[in-house]
Symmetry: C2
Subunit: 257 residues, 2 copies
DNA sequence: GATTTTCATTTGTCAGACATTTAAAAGTCT
DNA sequence: AGACTTTTAAATGTCTGACAAATGAAAATC
């Protein structure tokens, strides 16, 4: 592993990249122990704090885990689906919030992906997924449910749908995408009427999945996309009027207390 | 923001989480400057190296960038599509390599996603994407092309296809997924005959997109998925036989499913 | 007024030290 | 001998203090 001290890139970044490449290329196996910080500092000819910063970068990406004590150290981490999804959600959420993406664009992408696994879900769904969908539909009918809880239930419903495809890679990709859209969906205020409309569509969707009707499921998802966009538009129109009247609030700086 | 020194989580991890939450929640705007390391150390009541480790974690996730010099410091980073895709590729690649996922599962997920944007690509594709597809098909016909270069061209072709949908969110998700599969695809040795078969399918696919025939595009993708799986199976079967002859067969051979 | 120099600020890095955790190894008792 | 306890060494987590390098603003100079 070569490190160039004259590069403008920080040493810790270069070292992190070297180790990351070793992990991705498979030169380091899962659960394999990396040399101790002191040894790495020797090998790369840098100080221990610099090595530590590099290791923290890798830890932030869930590439390694560290363990204290004798025979502890940094180990190549087994990346679980849950870890991977968390990373995906963080990245996607930020991407959506920072890039001036219209609700329609995000919504379109989300439903396009969801339609992709609808046929597979219709074919392979298990009683488990149908039970979750039924339970969430029931919850969505409760009138005293808050908007946030309604949204959370919506996410759970769609995750069950996705999981019905019985493909963990697809579940990882899709659930990340849907979770990332939750902040956008939370901006919507769900009236009783719009909730009833959504519940009805969810019911249709579940029926289509239950009866293994792929075409109907896809069609229902198209309908749901239209309704979601329409709801968002009406809310945003209202907000846009409100914004032009009120002033934008300045944000509080970081404080330790 | 409260930091609990008695928690088993490392201080730097807690601090990173606190700042990350502030960024995601929008309390810190894009390009806003964070307090200096010394100020943060004061606020959180920890030493500067600890703060630095926390900041490196955030830098690894592309959440902040740092700038040296007077009026430098850490700034909330604008997460570009390119950065986000890089993160996604890293995560997805590791997920695939570490979780004993069968080729079929990954392949199925990839083509399901790709089929999702085929109709949109058929409807909206621009001359730009068609030109790229044509160029890549031409390249794939060159006999002296290495397997790796063929794979790279394949990725470029499919990226043009998904870019045809004119939805950047979809492009981000899909191109990440396809790039992450590249190491798996690189395991395949492409014979002249299989290359011809793939080129033919690509030609059909481009024709379908060109003529805005969504159904045909989807159908062709189904065909390509089948061919890809078949190719992978034959390669893996050959590898498995080679291994059982060469070495002790006490460990289960690689299975294609 | 334009250019150069100085300078304060901030990150990047290093060195050494101590605290804490942890599991292996040694010791002790039954 | 076997089970339990204590010791101990190794490793990460953290702190203090310091210096180097970069960088933009302000002061000085032409």
């Amino acid at each position: 592993m070569k490190i160039d001290p004259d590069s403008n890139a920080a040493l810790s970044a270069q070292i992190a990249k070297a180790i990351r490449d070793a992990i991705i290329s498979g030169a380091l196996d899962v659960d394999e122990r990396l040399p101790s910080e002191a040894e790495l500092a020797d090998q790369f000819d840098v100080s221990r704090p610099t090595i530590r910063e590099a290791l923290k970068r890798l830890a932030a990406q869930s590439l390694i885990r560290t363990q204290r004590g004798a025979f502890g150290g940094a180990f190549v981490r087994h990346l679980s689906y849950a870890d991977a999804r968390e990373q995906l959600v963080t990245t996607s959420t930020l991407l959506l919030s920072m890039n001036d993406i219209s609700f329609d664009t995000a919504c379109e992408a989300r439903f396009a992906l969801e339609r992709a696994c609808a046929p597979m879900a219709a074919e392979r769904r298990q009683p488990e997924q149908l039970a979750i969908m039924a339970a969430e539909i029931a919850r969505q009918g409760e009138p005293e449910l808050s908007d946030e809880a309604f949204c959370a239930s919506d996410v759970a419903f769609h995750r069950a749908l996705i999981d019905g495809a019985q493909n963990p890679v697809l579940s990882y990709q899709l659930s990340g995408s849907i979770e990332a859209m939750q902040p956008l969906m939370n901006m919507i205020t769900y009236t009783a009427r719009s909730r009833a409309e959504i519940v009805e569509i969810h019911t249709d969707l579940m029926a289509a999945i239950d009866s293994r009707n792929a075409a109907s499921a896809a069609e229902t998802l198209v309908q749901l996309e239209k309704v979601t966009k329409r709801l968002a538009h009406s809310v945003m129109a209202a907000k846009s009027i409100a914004r032009s009247v009120a002033k934008s609030p300045d944000h509080a700086p970081i404080s330790a207390d």
